[in-house]
Amino acid sequence: MSKTYYTKEHEWIMVEDGVGTIGITDHAQEQLGDIVFVELPEPGLEVEQGDEACVVESVKAASEVYAPISGEVVEANEALGENAALVNESAETDAWFIKIKLSNADELEELMDKAGYEEFVESES
């Protein structure tokens, strides 16, 4: 049984069996515009919640992607190295960035659910 959470930095994390699959939201890719490069960490990297985990570059600028939770990076999405534009096409499905093995599942409680995130985006605009 999986569950998806969202951050105020516009990341999503889908958690299943103690592993979180992380990406940026569709709203985020829309704001960034055409994405041309994604820099991903090597598997094995230990991250703390809020650490810079990835960088996404649009035609306009570079933006950081933060780790929504602490843990060990277990996989990075190689497909983005070949085709960063996939993030524009399917930000919340195929264009995930990394998978992290959670070290502290309690951190998930600080994140928003889908309804909460949608409300947050609404309040930001």
Binding site: D34, V36, F37, E57, K60, A62, G81
Partner: protein
């Protein structure tokens, strides 16, 4: 260059309302609220210009006439030559030159286009176009340098739009067939009828994309009618400042405030071609001593094309190192080149490392990434050449 006007309210071009109707994303730029992209997006806008034709609002730029009361073009041309190293005095009617306003150290205060009007009875008039962020200072400088018998008329009631791309000629010739055979860097002043509205345009065959195309100065009151008519053509899309920047970067064209500024000379910036032969021999422009010395001995640094070997873009401010680890320069413009299909950059490197093919390293987010010096432009220019 968006901060020169400080906190004063942003100005709008005559096409502001129209950009909003097109759902453009508006951003502050050089004191104006300008469209950075339209719903098509930077990438597709860029590629559209290279393939077909794009329409740009550049009305934020400064336009002025210099009008010598004695009817002599040379009166204004010689006065301009005290500010810039271009050979303006030899300009024939209707011809245009790219040049730079210089400071006493040979640094670039702004770059500009200087045109001698070709219209009968106005062949002594000079038309200048300068950058938006610098226009107040530029015009003050130009006015001060003109003799009393030359009037400077700032064209606050004129809009400026650019139609760029391989299809630009077919689109514009539909309104004014004369433009089809204009030489590159030449201009015409002509009446044009658009949707039964009569208007005048000053059209030059020039631009800032590396493609064939035109820049059109039109009265503010007429510009929306003309814009609509041009954009109605199936080959034309509205293009924002975002794509304008990536197009000019691929074309190896300098952006003022980034690749050139008061600390860089035209020689360092590879703009030597824009300094007339007579001016190289005689000087007589600000900073001539330094510039003529650099021409003779070569500058210590040069602006070059830099091609990152990987996929990561190197943005403005990225430090450049030689392969033995010495810091030898800085990126002044960098991003993603949609037509190149990868990252492209320009920057200053020490002359020793400026040869095409020289291996460099770029420091991006603490990592050293390999790059090569590459001859500019990244994308071949596609300017119109008259058939003999």
């Amino acid at each position: 260059m968006s901060d020169q006007q400080g906190d004063s309210p942003l100005k709008r071009t005559p096409l502001y309302d129209f950009h909003n109707k097109l759902n453009a994303k508006m951003v502050p730029f050089a004191g104006y609220e300008m469209p950075v992209l339209y719903p098509l997006g930077v990438l597709k806008e860029h590629l559209h210009v290279r393939e077909k034709a794009g329409l740009f609002d550049v009305s934020h730029m400064g336009q002025a006439f210099l009008i010598p009361a004695d009817g002599e073009f040379k009166t204004a041309a010689h006065a301009l030559e005290t500010l810039a190293p271009g050979n303006f005095a030899i300009l024939k009617p209707g011809r245009q030159r790219y040049s730079q306003l210089l400071n006493d150290e040979g640094g670039v205060l702004d770059d500009l286009m200087v045109t001698r009007l070709g219209m009968e009875g106005h062949e002594h008039w000079v038309y200048v176009v300068v950058n938006a962020a610098c226009k107040t200072r530029d015009f003050a400088l130009i006015e001060k340098s003109m003799p009393d018998n030359v009037e400077m008329k700032i064209l606050d009631d004129m809009a400026l739009i650019a139609l760029q791309g391989p299809k630009a000629v077919d689109v514009l010739a539909g309104f004014a067939p004369q433009v089809a055979d204009m030489a590159f860097m030449s201009s015409l002043d002509l009446p044009v009828s658009v949707d039964e509205q009569e208007m005048w345009m000053h059209v030059s065959r020039s631009g800032y994309t590396g493609e064939d195309g035109y820049e059109l100065a039109i009265k503010s009151k007429d510009v929306e009618t003309f814009w609509r008519a041009l954009e109605a053509h199936p080959d034309v899309e509205a293009i924002g400042l975002g794509a304008r920047d990536s197009l000019r970067l691929e074309a190896g064209l300098c952006l003022y405030g980034h690749d050139i500024d008061e600390t860089t000379t035209p020689i360092e910036a590879n703009l030597t071609w824009s300094i007339g032969k007579r001016r190289r021999e005689n000087g007589g422009f600000p900073g001539a001593e330094k510039i003529l010395a650099q021409l003779k001995d070569g500058p210590a640094r040069k602006l070059v094309g830099i091609k990152p070997e990987g996929r990561a873009p190197a943005r403005e401010g990225t430090k450049v190192f030689s392969t033995d680890g010495a810091e030898i320069g800085i990126v002044t413009s960098g991003g993603y080149g949609p037509s190149v299909g990868g990252p492209v950059a320009m920057g200053y490197v020490s002359t020793k490392h400026s040869e095409a093919g020289t291996a460099l390293e770029l420091e991006v987010r603490g990592k050293r990434l390999p790059a090569l010096v590459q001859p500019l432009p990244f994308v071949a220019h596609n300017f119109y050449r008259k058939k003999k």
